[in-house]
Structure formats: structure tokens, C-alpha cells
Amino acid sequence: MIYEIFRQERKGQPFHHAGSLEAANHDFAEQYAKEFYGRRGESEALWVVPREAIIEVDEFVDELKRNYHRVDGYSLKEKLRRARERVGSALVARDR
């Protein structure tokens, strides 16, 4: 069986993918993971996960279809200029 190994380098840090290993069962997987990724104190903790237990999602439908759901959908510069002009504050306000 194939296991994916995630490694935490220091306490409090996120786990990062380190690699994978092949083992006959969970017990061997645990031992191999220690040998491959924890012999020299380089890991605080390991996650040993059977590859088949991982559900990968890599297709995302754009359900929103409206640009006002995204930060790049806003162009405030022109509106702000007009709003400032309306009250005559264009000269004092910082342009942003």
C-alpha cells in the first residue's frame, strides 16, 4: 500500500508534504516513515496517510459568475474621483 507522508518541522508549523512510501501495512508504514523522515530530529511530527484515504478535489466550477464577488471586480478610482469632485475635496484628499 502507498502512504503519503506529511512532515512538521517545528512545533506550531503547518505540515508539509514530504514524499510517499510503500509499506505492507500501517505498522510497517509507521516504522518506515520514522526511518525516512525522522532519524535526525528533522521532524517534530509526521502524518502517515494511506494514499487511498485522500480525496483530491481539483475541479472548481465558477458558481459566482459575477465579478463583484472578487476583489478584482472593483474599480473605485473613477468613482472616488467623482465623489470628491462633487464635494470639492479633490485637492486635499490623498489619491488612492
Partner: protein, 230 residues
């Protein structure tokens, strides 16, 4: 030894994910079909060789391994991080052996010098012929991020001064660093490299025989492990 076995486990795993079963890799290794690095085709005679191999061969190796850290295939790049990290211990180990011998007797210093003389040829061949980067498939496919000659120059620049400072000599009268920072050297023997890596080195067949025997004598371990897990 455990480090190296661990590295092979990681690399075989990446190869398996790319579609080639481990058993097939091992079959190719012991049949002589798969190539392995030129330095493994030579005999190791004395403790001088042990030190010089762990120091200089591993130094040359880590330069090519570091060029894999930015590999375009991320799973390979990730395991190379761990491998490079461990190889750096091996260099220290080799340097320690060499320094101990150099601080010893004349006979011990002689062992180191003889080993440098023996290994210089294979070391200069190690990074391959100076093929242009753009014609090197390994570079074009972004498997490695450095050309062969670049790697060799980096090796010479890093380690020749370290060899010289111990009072050792390098068996190449034409070796020198030019004013532009480029090392000049006698053209390595590329025919020897080709012949050695295709299984015609002085120790090629012995090394393969040892792998064959190891595979046979460890067959029962694989059986027990798989039976235990079943």
C-alpha cells in the same frame, strides 16, 4: 548506509508513481541494463579511498543533486531536499576521515594522496561531458537546473583550494584558475566514462554480482514481511 538505502526507497517511489514498478527497476539494475554512477565502477583500496570518496565524490554528487532541487516535477524536488540535507553529513564524515589521516603519519598522508590520484580522473568525468545546456535533455526538460560544465566548475572552485590547503596535490599539471575565474584542466577521458558506465569498469561486474546475491539472500525477508502483513 541507512541514509543511502533510504534515498533509494524515496527515489524508487517517485519512479513507481511515474509508472515503472520497483521490481522492474531492480531487475534492470542487476541485469546491467540500468546505469549507475561512474564512481561505483572502481575499486576502493584503502582508508584513503574511504575518506576521499565520502569527501570529494559526495561533494561532486551534492552539486548535481542540488541542481535537482528546482526540478519541474515537484515530488522529485521535494525528496531531493531531504537527500541533499543528508548528503551534507556524508561530506563532513569524509572530510573528518581525510583530516585525521592528514594529521597522522607520513604513511597515512601517502594513502590520502594515492587516493586523490586514483579518484581524480573519475571525479573530473563525474559531471559528464561539457554538452551545451540547450542540448542537454535533462536541462531542457527542467529536471536539473545546471549544465554539466557549470557543475564541474563549481566543484573545482569549491574543492581544489581545500585539497591544496592540506598539502595534497592534484594529478593534473594543467589545472589552474584563470583570471576570469574559469578553471582550466586537462580534457577528461570521455571514452573511459562511456565504457565504465556501460558496465566495463574494473569493478562493474563485481558490484552487480553483489547486488544479485543481496537480492537472493534477502528474498526471505520480503516474503516474511508480506506474509506478516497479509
Amino acid at each position: 548506509m541507512q541514509d543511502e538505502v533510504g534515498h533509494s526507497q524515496l527515489i524508487y517511489r517517485v519512479v513507481e508513481d511515474l509508472g515503472k514498478p520497483r521490481e522492474q527497476c531492480l531487475d534492470d539494475l542487476i541485469s546491467g541494463k540500468a546505469k549507475f554512477h561512474n564512481v561505483f565502477h572502481y575499486p576502493t583500496k584503502t582508508w584513503g579511498d574511504v575518506g576521499v570518496i565520502a569527501w570529494l565524490v559526495d561533494a561532486a554528487a551534492i552539486i548535481s543533486q542540488k541542481a535537482l532541487l528546482k526540478c519541474s516535477y515537484a515530488p522529485y524536488a521535494r525528496i531531493m531536499k531531504k537527500i541533499c540535507w543528508e548528503e551534507s553529513f556524508h561530506i563532513l564524515h569524509g572530510r573528518d576521515v581525510v583530516l585525521t589521516l592528514m594529521n597522522g603519519t607520513d604513511a597515512q598522508r601517502e594513502l590520502v594522496q594515492e587516493a586523490v590520484d586514483r579518484w581524480w580522473g573519475p571525479l573530473m568525468q563525474f559531471h559528464g561531458n561539457p554538452i551545451a545546456k540547450d542540448e542537454d535533455p535533462m536541462y531542457v526538460w527542467r529536471i536539473k537546473s545546471q549544465g554539466n560544465e557549470e557543475a564541474r566548475q563549481q566543484f573545482l572552485d569549491g574543492y581544489v583550494p581545500q585539497i591544496w590547503e592540506l598539502g595534497l596535490t592534484v594529478p593534473d599539471a594543467d589545472l589552474r584558475k584563470n583570471d576570469d575565474g574559469v578553471w582550466e584542466y586537462t580534457e577528461p577521458d570521455w571514452d573511459e566514462l562511456r565504457s565504465v558506465v556501460t558496465g566495463h569498469g574494473p569493478k562493474s561486474q563485481d558490484r552487480l554480482d553483489l547486488r544479485r546475491k543481496a537480492r537472493e539472500s534477502s528474498a526471505w525477508v520480503r516474503q516474511v514481511v508480506l506474509a506478516e502483513a497479509a
